[in-house]
Symmetry: C2
Subunit: 248 residues, 2 copies
């Protein structure tokens, strides 16, 4: 039986998603426990696949893995530390989680007095199809990509930016964010981003991984949702941390 | 100039508070950066002291350290990863952060259908002065201690329990929590806790460290409060994680 599982993880606790020898990775932890509990024999036989290979430090609340499972994979994965199960779905034998409708990444910025209008203007430049050579670490894949939508909003002191596309290049969002934050800090002109998108060689740097989250991956079917108790507790802990020191 | 700094940390990222050779600890990271930036020469000369030595896995949003600082210690400590500055105060030359009015620890429980009335009843047993031999890992200190107050409340699916005392024994709260959760799960009778408090040898186990937070330490003076931007982002991330999967 092939199953798709929507997983979340605290990216700061792992050396990225993809397996690496002698390093704690999300995929490594998942494969280890699935093999140990005989849910799968090995990754190849189980046709283990994933939707996104997030970088070191990037968190997720909706990455998707799929594999041919013998037994209750959801219960087994729930026992992992710092990896959470947000949903599951029985899927067709040929399902590959890369074949999604779209992925939604969210970047969080603490508003230290950025020029919000300029930030929005700069982000708008990246919507649609572009050559992202100056805004990605190129790995042989076609740098011409389409970003379906970019949504920005501000709630009190937090700015959230959603990037929606079927697929993203390596470091693409973090490089875009580095450039638009420079515009919002009025360190560079918006024209410099335009030029870089038109081909002029530029490197605006890389925004921190820890503020980036793979929020969800969408398919033409739904998942049975789960809300991990640990996430409720984490939200409560960080809310209390602010309240206890605010009300004095 | 002697300074007291109110620090927070994600306990799951460290091997406890106290320095250990070749292990990442809260105190170790703090001393390393203070020495590197010449804010202190060494811990002894700077008379470096702390309020509480939290266990591995236990977080804090209000532990207090004090030392004789040369330079802007607050700015230096702000640059640490997974350690946050929640406040600071200039203090007298003889200030020792152990000499507090009280410490507040909060334990978070996800409500899986506990008997809340029994939980409160069991917790009430621990208020006041008792011999905590059955509810601590003894280390030579007097097991007779006084807990000033224990406050319980439930908000939706989270139960929060505050323990207030001038000082606590090693593992004391986690051992108390293990026992009262057994009562709340109706695995043991409340009488068994009474007997253990009266001297009958019992070991009810140890509740997980990751749900325990040293929320604050109170003194007869106030701190200048800071609200770290990273905590706002963390709260927002975990709130979104729940919302994105709830509304489908």
């Amino acid at each position: 039986m092939r199953i798709a599982i929507k997983i979340g993880y605290d990216g700061t606790k792992f050396n990225g998603f993809a397996v690496q020898p002698n390093k704690k990775t999300v995929e490594g932890e998942i494969l280890r426990i699935l093999k140990k509990t005989k849910i799968i024999e090995d990754r190849k036989k189980a046709r283990f696949q994933y939707a996104a290979r997030t970088d070191k430090g990037v968190s997720a609340f909706g990455n998707v893995i799929a594999f041919d499972a013998k037994g209750n994979a959801v219960e087994v994965l729930k026992s992992l530390e710092d990896i959470w199960v947000f949903g599951y779905a029985n899927v067709k034998e040929n399902f590959n989680p890369r074949n999604c409708i779209e992925k939604i990444y969210r970047y969080y910025v603490y508003d230290n007095g950025y020029n919000y209008k300029k930030l929005k203007e700069a982000l708008n430049l990246f919507k649609g199809e572009h050559d992202f050579s100056n805004f990605a670490k190129l790995d042989g894949r076609n740098p011409v990509r389409k970003i379906n939508d970019i949504k920005v909003r501000k709630a009190k002191n937090i700015i959230k930016i959603d990037f929606i596309a079927k697929s993203f290049l390596w470091n693409q969002i973090r490089r875009i964010m580095a450039s638009v934050l420079k515009v919002a800090k009025e360190e560079i002109e918006i024209e410099e981003i335009k030029e870089a998108l038109e081909g002029k060689k530029r490197n605006f740097g890389l925004a921190p991984a820890k503020n980036l989250v793979l929020l969800d991956v969408k398919y033409n079917f739904g998942f049975k949702n789960l809300l991990p108790s640990e996430i409720f507790i984490k939200r409560e802990i960080f809310t209390d941390a602010l309240n206890i020191h605010r009300n004095k």
